[in-house]
Amino acid sequence: MLQITDLHVSVEGVEILKGINLSVHPGEVHAIMGPNGSGKSTLTRVLAGHPSYVVTRGSATYEGKDLFQMAIEDRARAGVFLAFQYPIDIPGVNNAYFLKAALNETRKAQGLEELDAMEILEFLKEKMKVVEMDASFLSRPVNEGFSGGEKKRNEILQLAVLNPKLAILDETDSGLDIDALKIVSEGVNRLRSSSRSFILVTHYQRMLNYITPDHVHVLMGGKIVLSGGKDLAFKLEEKGYEWVKSDDRP
């Protein structure tokens, strides 16, 4: 589904990613862990197409296509979804309107009929159950005045609505209390399927108590320095990232 090869990325002339290699197959959940400043968020944003990030070398192939040749919206319409670490406020645009536009653009690109206002409303209400969101969120401006937990739930709601093939979650666990973390994690678990893949980017292991990954990768200094199974996350939690650099590791 996604094949990243020798990816180098710079921001404002500073190289952040220094040769990333990663293969994600349908249905897999990959956790990418690493200390602050290791390049985790850069990786998620460059995959989604953030204009501040420049690919200087390497490639990313998504379903056989060159991801970096695709416009931001085309990536989304083709099924790539990024749940933001810091979701953006969109004043004056209500959530329902925003979700309707996003869903219909995506449906159009997939050759599906656009849904009308009534159909959308029913559909959204159904999806809001996944993240236990109240219907009143639909009439509020996107993310404006939302608490940290509400913003993250809103991201997962969008994930549920847009039904992507590849969902990239950037530190979705950060800033969540334990109840919100459970709700968000359960939402993700319900959305797992044999055809949908996840990349979970996280600093801490705690979300992985709720979402069991197939693969865990450690990103440090712009490179994946270590990969393993789900147990690797526990080891990291126990021994810290310093351990990865030491000689004590496997």
Partner: protein
């Protein structure tokens, strides 16, 4: 005297010949006005309140009144009429057209020119009374030249159940016509109403609308006012609203400005007695070479008044916006609460906005604030929307709409919100839509 000013002077003299039956007090007002205009001429950018708006294009053309009432297509009339119930007042080329109007119960509407001749006692105490810009050239021209306009009176303790809608329509088939509508709104003590003024035109030649509206709110009166300016792209539009508020009265206004080649919207409010409040909001959307100028002046004269202002601009192409907001808190006006915010979004690299807040505070127990922000569409917000599959242009338009909606939500006139959003969306669709980069 330069030749253009002389031209106006001559036109005035010609008119004067036919005005023998006008009352003395009015002739005096007119004489003073034309004299002031002749003395000062049109404003130049050297004048503080006109420094960002050059009216040379208006000053250079001898605009003439058009006396004929054009034949209106039935379609035009229907479209104009169908936007809701209540009173519908139609002013065409500056002249009140009673036959095209519908006057609901509870209000008293007359042609101001007619009222001056037949019932001068209901006009004289008010005409020029609320106005605070007697020295201004356009105000002076209006006073010197006006023939018609709306006199609207709502009696004491009357609550109007339905809005008053006034449409000022210009038939722009002749070049260089001018209209000087003069309106006077007197809201009796404890009365309540909604007034929506709309300025529209048929597409065509260049023309000038130079309107003056005076509003008096007696004790405890409430008026929710809106002014929608969607003149043609060839139009010059200069309009001032002068509101004088008595004790505990409340005035809200919303001005939407999307039309005109050069449009200036002035809103003056004097809180002339205690506990009066006003809320002034506005939105201006420019593109191409448009110049859209908003001027506000809130004069807190007495204690415990409050004023809230929010103006927003969306400027594309080579358009230019101006916001100048002056707040005066006089020594007597203790306990005043006055806030002003101006925000603008520039949608192109060549659009421009000048913002000029001016606070003069002479009282010491007051709460005042002002803020101005000029920016562009936020890159992160665009990225966020696009990352959800929304196209680049649609994302830009959505953000611009959201920006506009925030101020539209401020209007007290619920039924108008949808209309305002439609006008805004139509203009934004032209800016973000196909065929325009």
């Amino acid at each position: 005297m330069n030749e253009k000013i002389e031209w106006y002077k001559k036109a005035y003299e010609v008119l004067k010949g036919g005005r023998q039956n006008e009352p003395e007090w009015l002739l005096l007002l007119r004489e003073e006005a034309i004299a002031a205009f002749v003395r000062k001429g049109f404003p130049t950018v050297k004048e503080e309140s006109w420094r960002y708006t050059d009216v040379a294009a208006i000053a250079g053309v001898p605009f003439e009144s058009d006396e004929t009432v054009p034949a209106l297509s039935p379609e035009t009339l229907e479209v104009l009429k169908q936007k809701g119930g209540g009173s519908f007042l139609f002013v065409v080329n500056g002249k009140f057209s009673r036959v095209h109007s519908k006057i609901a119960e509870g209000i008293d509407v007359m042609d101001i020119g007619e009222a001056i001749l037949t019932r001068p006692e209901i006009v004289q105490p008010y005409l020029g009374f609320c106005a605070s810009s007697a020295g201004d050239a356009f105000y002076a021209l209006n006073t010197a030249f006006f023939k018609s306009g709306l006199l609207i009176r709502v009696a004491e303790n009357i609550t109007l159940k339905e809005p008053i809608r006034a449409v000022f329509f210009t038939d722009a088939s002749k070049e260089h016509t001018v209209s000087h509508p003069r309106n006077l709104v007197v809201m009796g003590a404890g009365s309540k109403g909604v007034l929506v003024e709309t300025y529209v035109a048929s597409n065509g030649q260049s023309y000038l609308t130079n309107s003056v509206t005076e509003v008096l709110l007696e004790k405890g009166a409430i008026l929710d006012h809106a002014k929608i300016q969607t003149e043609s792209v060839a139009a010059f539009h200069i309009a001032s609203t002068h509101t004088l508020q008595r004790r505990a009265s409340a005035f809200s206004s919303f001005s939407l400005s999307t039309g005109g080649r050069l449009a200036r919207n002035e809103c003056f409010v004097a809180l002339d007695d205690g506990e009066a409040s006003c809320s002034l909001n506005g939105l201006y959307l420019g593109d191409r070479e448009q110049v859209l100028d908003q001027q506000t002046f809130v004069d807190h004269r007495k204690p415990d008044g409050n004023s809230h202002q929010l103006f927003k601009g969306l400027l594309a192409g080579n358009s230019r916006g101006v916001f100048s907001g002056r707040v005066m808190v006089r020594q007597d006006a203790q306990g005043t609460d006055a806030h002003q915010t101006n925000k603008a979004l520039l949608l192109s690299d060549t659009a421009k906005v000048d913002a000029q807040p001016q606070l003069e505070i002479l009282a010491d127990d007051v709460k005042c604030s002002h803020g101005a922000a000029v920016g562009q569409l936020q890159e992160d917000a665009l990225f966020y929307l696009r990352s959800r599959g929304i196209g680049e242009r649609e994302a830009g338009q959505m953000l611009a709409q959201g920006f506009a909606r925030e101020v539209i939500e401020r209007t007290e006139i619920e039924f108008l919100k949808e209309t305002l959003l439609e006008i805004v969306n139509e203009k934004l669709t032209r800016q973000f839509g196909s065929g325009k980069e």
